[in-house]
């Protein structure tokens, strides 16, 4: 049996990575998005490619696999996407033993996590608060500009003969293909890569999965001389990512971008798709950033942006075939880590869809695990 033509629904970084991997495997791919390309969650994050924030487990394995793939993938698509392997620095201002223990645990799982003292931390980040008691340096953490990365992947798909159709909404899926707002697109398989909107799209495609939005806000300062060298986190970041509490959680992530701005993240709230600004959230981000970098106090904040991160009830990505509808696949639920996890997700989906040997264990991400089928 020949390989099917595939429709990927969702032109964010996950959809783009799936489409890129499928087209590289020789499949004919059409990418649909109800809006413009790379305009949802992928346009509302910091561009994190992280291992530092992940506990040992399947997500960390996927992150390590992705990290290894990003540079070769970027070489293959050939665009400048502001890739910067700057490394991460997680700092604690309280009890140093918790962070040290977490890092030791990660090291055992293959993460390069180097416990350093305050002196080396200040050497790496001269503007850092002197209240730091201990720090862990993660040389593997990197950053890229997510919209550039997504459009670069989609450009590669286009150059291989794939079709990009922004402004086209997927309405249903049947034996003849995907029914859309602009006619039927014939195909043998469809990939739901709609991020926080994957739940709604899965219903339209005939097999609902439980993916919810969690809102994240980021502050952007005016361009300034380069003062923050790494991705610098407060040690409580890890707790926020792994939690399902609806209440506001913020933990500081401060970093510079290629454009000279400083990004200050990030908050996590479950507020549905509510886009309105909450000053309380912005104030919390500002407080923690100034506590970490007192020298930023006088810097103007010129923008705040927010986005919705998709999460499954168990906070693991959902990657694989839907057992209920033959030909329906999902690649979603990456929460705030979609940029970092995209290359391995795209590769894994393509491997499963073409029957190749998966490069990471697909079991933890399977669609029919408890709680995901809605």
């Amino acid at each position: 049996m020949g390989l099917p033509d595939v429709v990927v629904v969702g032109a964010g970084v996950i959809g783009a990575a799936c489409a890129e991997a499928l087209s590289a495997a020789g499949l004919r791919v059409t990418v649909l998005d109800r809006g413009p390309l790379a305009a949802g969650t992928s346009a509302a994050g910091e561009g994190n490619v992280l291992v530092s924030d992940k506990e040992p487990g399947p997500e960390l394995d996927l992150a390590l696999a992705s990290l290894a793939r990003w540079p070769e993938l970027l070489d293959r698509v050939g665009h400048d996407v502001e890739w910067d392997p700057k490394g991460g620095l997680v700092v604690a201002t309280g009890d140093p033993s918790l962070l040290a223990g977490f890092a030791a645990h990660q090291r055992a799982a293959g993460v390069d996590a180097r416990l350093i003292g305050p002196a080396e931390a200040f050497e790496r980040e001269p503007q850092l608060t002197r209240r730091v008691t201990t720090a862990v340096h993660y040389p593997q953490d990197a950053q890229l500009q997510p919209v550039l990365a997504t459009t670069a992947l989609l450009d590669a798909v286009r150059k291989r003969g794939g079709v990009l159709r922004p402004g086209v909404t997927a309405l249903g899926f049947g034996p003849d293909g995907v029914r859309t707002s602009d006619g039927v697109v014939p195909c043998g398989a469809v990939v739901n890569a709609c991020g926080p909107w994957s739940g709604a799209v899965s219903r339209a495609l005939g097999a609902p999965i439980d993916i919810q939005p969690r809102r994240g806000m980021v502050l952007v300062t005016a361009p300034m001389p380069h003062t923050v060298r790494h991705k610098v986190y407060d040690a409580d970041y890890v707790g926020a990512v792994a939690s399902g509490d609806a209440d506001l959680q913020t933990s500081t992530v401060v970093e510079s971008t290629a454009a000279g701005t400083v990004l200050i993240g990030s908050s996590r709230e479950r507020v549905g798709f509510d886009e309105s600004i909450r000053v309380r959230v912005l104030r919390e981000l500002a407080r923690k950033a100034v506590a970490l970098f007192p020298g930023l106090a006088d810097v103007p904040v010129m923008r705040a942006y927010g986005g919705f991160r998709p999460y499954a009830p168990d906070h693991l990505p959902v990657i694989g075939a839907d057992p209920r509808v033959p030909g329906l696949w999902h690649a979603t639920g990456h929460e705030g880590a979609g940029i970092g996890l995209a290359p391995a997700t795209g590769a894994l989906l393509a491997e499963l869809l073409t029957g190749a040997r998966p490069h990471v264990d697909p079991q933890p991400f399977r669609v029919d695990r408890p709680g995901v089928l809605a």
Partner: protein, 414 residues
């Protein structure tokens, strides 16, 4: 001011939040104004965020980190945030010595400064005439006013019957004659020349679509440009107000789509100071639960006729070279914008984040409309959402230290 007065007359407790140190805004700059003594005037104050009808305000010297933060919970809000000059890009428009028409006007009226000794004013619309007059008053020699459109059609427009306004415009036209400032119709400055400051401009005779017919070069030391106005919509968008044709959609009482939020003046349509004041009076009264007897129909008709006579024609896009800056803050060239449209960057966010257009300190206030119009010309299909162009939830920059201690609730009066 008109809205505040009307609301105070209707018995409401009124706070007037004003970015300027003194009353009057852009139009009455330099001419002292008064409001109803019952109105609390918060001068040098900016609403930097809105949460529903809760206003977050900073008061103090512009961009100082030592401003005071206050929070006001209102029963109703009238937005009258006005407009700023739109300037379409052309080669050399980023040189020192190129000013917006509004800058020349403001510097003349409030600082008594002429932006140059030999000046050309260029753009479209009746606002160019008082700018030329102000320049002459402070000692500049205005070599000419370039009006890109034919600029007279509206006089014969059947909807333009508004004797008062006509007299005002006739006054400026007469003034130009008296001051011997020539008005060059169907003409525009299409390039500015110089290395570190403008020393000359290319003036083009235009076709009706604003493409270039013929050019000549003249020596200047300043040029003032204004191609109509861009409404300042960030607060209206933050409040969730629906937009229509690029302005805040309002009913005849100035009510927006959001209960409790009213809008008046240039953010509801460019119409000049008289119409804005009338709209303010109507919206202010409505916001206070009263009703004004003021009729806006005639003035709105006249404004619409004027706007019809001064369109921005797409031929301006042919003035650019690949190296012309589209975004001044991030120094994004036309060429770089084209590279983004080649990647199908057809949404506001995608276009910004692939080209960096509009990501600088002005947050796309100067370039947003120009960039999306240029991009739309090059795209098969564009998704440039009007509200996305004006979505700036932080409406004016706030220092990190100010944000870190900003109050979340209104404080009780002592």
């Amino acid at each position: 001011m008109a809205a505040a007065n009307a609301a105070a007359r209707a018995g409401a407790e009124v706070v007037l939040v004003d970015g300027e140190p003194t009353l009057g805004g852009q139009y009455y700059r330099g001419t002292p104004q008064r409001v109803d003594p019952a109105v609390e005037h918060l001068a040098e104050s900016a609403v930097w965020a809105m949460e529903g009808l809760r206003l977050h305000i900073r008061t103090g010297a512009a961009d100082s980190p030592h401003r005071t933060g206050t929070v006001v919970d209102a029963d109703a809000v009238v937005l009258a945030t006005g407009a700023h000059d739109r300037v379409v890009p052309f080669p050399g428009w980023d040189l020192p010595g190129v000013y917006t028409a509004g800058a020349a006007q403001t510097l003349a009226k409030s600082q008594g400064i002429a932006v140059g000794a030999r000046v050309v004013v260029s753009g479209t619309g009746p606002f160019l005439l008082p700018v030329a007059e102000s320049l002459v008053k402070v000692g500049a020699r205005v070599l000419g006013v370039c009006e890109a459109n034919s600029g007279t059609g509206w006089l014969r427009h059947p909807r333009a019957a508004n004797p008062g306004k006509m007299a005002e415009l006739a006054h400026y036209a007469g003034m130009l004659l008296k001051l011997r400032v020539p008005l060059w119709r169907k003409t525009a400055v299409v390039a500015a020349h110089g290395t570190d400051r403008v020393t000359a401009v290319t003036i083009a005779r235009l076709n009706p679509d604003w493409t270039i017919r013929a050019t000549r070069r003249i020596e200047v030391d300043a040029v003032c440009v204004g191609h109509g106005f861009t409404p300042r919509l960030e607060l209206a968008v933050a409040a969730g107000c629906a937009l229509k044709d690029g302005f805040v959609a309002v009913d005849e009482r100035g009510a927006t789509s959001v209960p409790g939020v009213y809008a008046a003046g240039e953010i509801t349509g460019i119409g000049g100071a008289d119409l804005a004041a009338a709209e303010g009076e109507v919206a202010g009264a409505a916001a206070a639960g009263s009703e004004s007897t003021k009729s806006l129909t005639g003035a709105r008709r006249f404004a619409a006729a004027l706007a019809d006579a001064h369109p921005i024609k797409p031929g301006w896009q042919t003035w650019l070279t690949p190296e012309t800056l589209v975004c001044r803050c991030e120094e994004v060239t036309y060429q770089a914008l084209c590279a983004a449209t080649d990647l199908d960057a057809a949404g506001v966010r995608t276009l910004k984040l692939t080209s960096r257009v509009g990501l600088g300190l002005c947050q796309g206030r100067m370039c947003g409309r120009n960039a999306t119009e240029l991009a739309a010309t090059r795209l098969d299909q564009a998704f440039f959402d009007e509200a996305a162009l004006h979505r700036r939830p932080i409406a004016t920059p706030i220092r990190l230290s100010e944000l870190a201690e900003t109050p979340l609730e209104p404080q009780e009066d002592p």
